[in-house]
Amino acid sequence: MRKEILELLETDSKLTPYQIATMLGIDKSKVEKEIEAMEEEGIILQYSTLINWEKAGVEQVSALIDVKVTPQRGVGFDDIAERIYRFPEVRSVMLMSGSYDLSVEVTGRNIKEVAQFVSQKLATLEHVQSTMTHFVLKRYKQQGVILENKEKDRRQVISP
């Protein structure tokens, strides 16, 4: 049941417990209890909104940075990852398989801001061996949502 509640909330966090309860055919109080529990357990972290910032006219630059690091005895990559994710400029940090170790997403108001962060803060960290910065040119799809969806309802208004 938890999975079903989560799937609904993931696509629309505005759904009320009452709506979720009717859609899943369970009790409203049960839904409320589960949601509260999942918030407490840190399963539900945030109710956020997916925004097309470009359309909103807000200048913003993002970059994905491949970071190679030297893992440390005892803590592996966790320590260095934490030192990186504590910077507010960093949107996400993931440990990767393959030719580099950490994938770091950084946003800033312009290229200069991001470049400065990489050269002054990120690359100079102890245990960081190298960085490779890729700027995002255009977003097409994010979190499973197509940003400019051209598909619309083309059906006849009434059909048998």
Binding site: M23, L24, S159
Partner: protein, 402 residues
């Protein structure tokens, strides 16, 4: 001597009643800002992998006729599908035909088995095509009523009342459009018994078979002694959201399917190859997408039923397809005037129950093949509409009293 214009059209066609939906369609099409819950097709677009497979087939040059029966690979997949899902065994070589939508299969089936004068039993409320197709095939359609108190299931007693020596066939459509009713195994037993006893052929339109919400669909062809007298019709329109591709199929005993192919080869030749290629992809890799869509329909179904009941409308729980068929009798209005007023006052389109036969009077068909957002908005408007109606009715009743 020159024919008068009116005489150019065959009386058979001239006397076909116009579709009850047509008039309402024009009304809706001419109103702006309407939210339509009157659509009889999925609101999903065909899954991308199916569309993509069609592009690829075109690139590969699949643009020719296929076998009259349909591509052998596709028939084989259909055979597997029927076996896996409904425990039906059909030989892909000579017991399955690929058609232009399930609609063509219905037409073929009727034309194949009807001798002029035969009677065909059609349970109502029903999808709009069966009666006209029966008439065009030369049969006399005989309506069997189903009712709200039976959750619009076909009852053996009602069926028996309409059977006589001329009765040749019975058309079944479960899960049902427009009521959302299903026939479970125990409901079908009596129907199968009656069919065997009276030597009836059953044309079973199972186009909504994948859209059930309370256990799997059961086909009447899976009952003892029924396989040889049943034509199972199905297609890709509803479950895979492929209405515009016009691709369906029929499976049945060899003699009947062979005879259907005879008509099909002279009138249609074969179903479009690009649609056949898409259908092949749907059967091979489409299961997961169907599951996702069914899950969403189910959530909306529960939501709509609970909203309708909150409004005070009586409504049995539909267990299949994507329709709810609530009673609007508490408003004291006819189906048609209810639908018209709802459209005019609140700009919500639903289909009057009478479009599906007389026994649909007092009901409306609501399709939940619409986004949750639109469903919420439309049902809120409808609740407001009904609240006003009952308020006015109470005032009127008071005036009448005094």
């Amino acid at each position: 001597m020159k024919l008068k214009k009116g005489d150019r059209i065959s009386p058979l066609v001239k006397n076909l009643p116009p579709s009850g939906i047509r008039k309402f369609f024009d009304l809706v099409a001419n109103t702006k800002g309407v939210i339509s819950l009157g659509v009889g097709e999925p609101d999903f677009v065909t899954p991308w992998h199916i569309r993509e497979a069609c592009f690829y087939s075109l690139e590969q040059g699949y643009t020719m006729y296929t076998s009259n029966w349909g591509m052998p690979e596709l028939r084989k997949e259909i055979s597997n599908f029927l076996y896996k899902r409904y425990n039906l065994e059909y030989n892909p070589d000579n017991e399955i035909i690929v058609t232009v939508g399930a609609s063509e299969a219905v037409d073929l089936a009727l034309r194949t088995i009807i001798t002029p004068g035969d009677e065909v039993l059609i349970p109502e409320p029903s999808y709009v095509s069966y009666k006209p197709c029966a008439v065009l095939a030369g049969a006399k359609p005989v309506v069997v009523q189903t009712s709200y108190k039976d959750e619009f299931k076909l009852k053996e007693e009602e069926l028996n009342k309409k059977i006589n020596s001329k009765t040749k066939a019975l058309v079944l459509c479960y899960p049902n459009n427009p009521t959302g009713a299903i026939m479970e195994k125990k409901d079908l037993e009596g129907i199968a018994r009656t069919a065997v006893k009276n030597d009836l052929i059953v044309i079973s339109d199972e186009i909504y078979s994948e859209l059930t919400y309370n256990g799997n669909h059961v086909s009447i062809a899976s009952f003892p002694r029924m396989r040889d007298r049943t034509i199972v019709i199905n297609g890709f329109s509803k479950a895979w959201a492929m209405t515009g591709w016009r691709i369906g199929f029929a499976a049945g005993p060899r003699d009947i399917i062979e005879a259907m192919v005879k008509i099909h080869q002279y009138t249609i030749l074969c179903a479009p190859v690009m649609s056949q290629m898409a259908a092949l992809e749907a059967l091979r890799n489409g299961g997961e997408e169907v599951e996702k869509m069914v899950k969403q329909y189910n959530q909306r179904r529960r939501f709509v039923v609970s909203k309708l009941r909150e409004m005070g409308l009586e409504c049995f729980e539909p267990k299949g397809a994507f329709y709810v068929f609530p009673s609007i009798k508490i408003t004291g209005m006819t189906s048609e005037s209810f639908a018209e007023e709802l459209l005019k006052q609140e700009k919500v389109a639903v289909v009057p129950g009478t479009a599906f036969g007389e026994s649909g009077e007092g009901h409306i068909r609501i399709s939940y093949a619409a986004s949750l957002k639109n469903l919420t908005k439309a049902l809120d408007r409808m609740a407001y509409f009904i609240e006003n109606l009952t308020k006015n009715k109470m005032v009127m009743d008071k005036v009448m009293e005094s």
